[in-house]
Symmetry: C2
Subunit: 333 residues, 2 copies
Amino acid sequence: MARLTMKEIAQLAHVSQPTVSRVLSGNPDVNEEIANRVRQVVESVGYIPNKAAQTLKGNQSFIIGVCVSQIYNPYFVELIDSLENRAKEIGYSIIFHNSKHNPVLEWENIQNFIARQVDGIILVPTGEFNIERIKKLKIPTVVITQSNTVLDSVSLDHVKAGRMAAEYFLKKGHKEFGYIGHPHDEKFIGFESALYENGLTFNMDNYIEIAVTSTYSSMIRKDIEKYFQSHDTIHFSCVNTTNDIVAIEFMKAAQERGLRIPDDVSIIGFDDTYLTSIMGLSSIHQPIDMMVKNAIEILQNRINLQISSDKINILLDPTIIERSSSNYSRALS
Amino acid sequence: MARLTMKEIAQLAHVSQPTVSRVLSGNPDVNEEIANRVRQVVESVGYIPNKAAQTLKGNQSFIIGVCVSQIYNPYFVELIDSLENRAKEIGYSIIFHNSKHNPVLEWENIQNFIARQVDGIILVPTGEFNIERIKKLKIPTVVITQSNTVLDSVSLDHVKAGRMAAEYFLKKGHKEFGYIGHPHDEKFIGFESALYENGLTFNMDNYIEIAVTSTYSSMIRKDIEKYFQSHDTIHFSCVNTTNDIVAIEFMKAAQERGLRIPDDVSIIGFDDTYLTSIMGLSSIHQPIDMMVKNAIEILQNRINLQISSDKINILLDPTIIERSSSNYSRALS
DNA sequence: CTGTTAGCGCGTTCAC
DNA sequence: GTGAACGCGCTAACAG
């Protein structure tokens, strides 16, 4: 249980403890022979330096705190995996937290990050609740998968994604449009405006609302069923959705009601998770690795260069991946 | 950037630093008035104690290292989420690593855990490669989702799960059995032996082998396609699989070849991830929360009581969840 | 080039 | 009931 310390290594190698430190940190000003002797001992006893002490001393923990708002969506899994990979590449560890869409939990998680002396934070926020407080902490923080007006952020251009879906449907000859998403969905803004620019207005009765807190398939399904309870059938031939899970739940609900996909209703998902290939769901691809790469780069710069340059907001371009769920053209009239 | 220290809090509250320490640790031997004054200051400046220093001092980090062998399977997501939840409940943080089925990476991850002074490790091992070395570290470690002959472990009873699938198929009247899994699959042992006890022998030509390293759907799919290349069709009416992803990939491959499910071939998955409900896939349920609960409990005991009692190996009972993919009875002959 | 000294922020004696 | 002094394991500054 009691791990070896640098001091003990020093004794074993008959040198002073700082010399061991120098050898391990690659300081070249050490006699090669002595260095080898030290390395020999370190190797043979399997000594590993105590990062808690290094952190205390050096004011750097080489930890990045990651806090996501949910994890159920496979999209977040890929995000976490990608984050862990990149972080490891640059010698960082990840402390992971889930805020479950709860701002109070989110703030607790952030506080833990502070306590742990993380060098930076990557955040999928629950909303705007804690943003200002986080800003005040002066810890490099980048919001990922959403853009933010206060903090650095890296995300897909959601508005553009919405536009893209609308334009895709328009090109396929659709006339009546549906949307399934949360209230205040950026993608919807793009979706609606693209329609508007084509002389169409979105009928809000075709908006199926999913509660922000509906994190599980079953809850999403209930939200969709609620819509069907007040609407005998749907009055749209195509529908854009806020994520793949929502899309799939709608897909199932529609099929159970005898609606054919894509003939009766075309569907586009969002995130392009691996669920899409399983279900043949068209989806808008999020370049996760690219987002993560950018986010970590920003953090690194903020950490090392102590730059307090202007806020950085990166918006990446969406790509639409067509699969069978939307591969259907309406006859032109 | 430079965070407040306890000493500075002490100055602000006109007390000594140890007094602040006492107040924060809930030591009752402090004048109530002074304690309140301290709490007041702590609150108003948002002071958060430095865990790196606490770790260094107290020899406890309140960190649990979690290292999984892959993350692509949604099963692991639920595992990580559950772990994070429980850990937080007892005041622990999680450092997360993915070994990607690579023993070298796994060992690096473990070394990082040591460096970070984790109090315990929860591990989904890549194999036996590092087990003995880990044992020597004398750090409380529990293997999860697999049983282990050297370390503590909590897992489902895989052999029993295999038996359960076989018995289920037998009851449905099946005569020819298939299996899709990795080499040396514990579930297969149970599957085969249950058949054997019913006077049947498993035909190894009906074993579709998936490489351990086939982590993505596409790779699994390739393994399945390879089987079909050397076999015009399948000679089994039911098949047990090693996880849900494998099951779904087989499902798709079979359907593309005109096989009806469950009429021509019944399928049972494993893990009971949310993919199953999407696909109507029968599956053997893993009680993740129960496993996590047990695993963390074992860790806690090992950490706090310093107990070095006998190795603990918990085997939980499987449950089979029937959905449409296996809901079909063969006519009895 | 190497060893001695100091101090990171905190918890824990020990006197008072 | 409270403060002074020490040390956890390490890195950095300073001598020599």
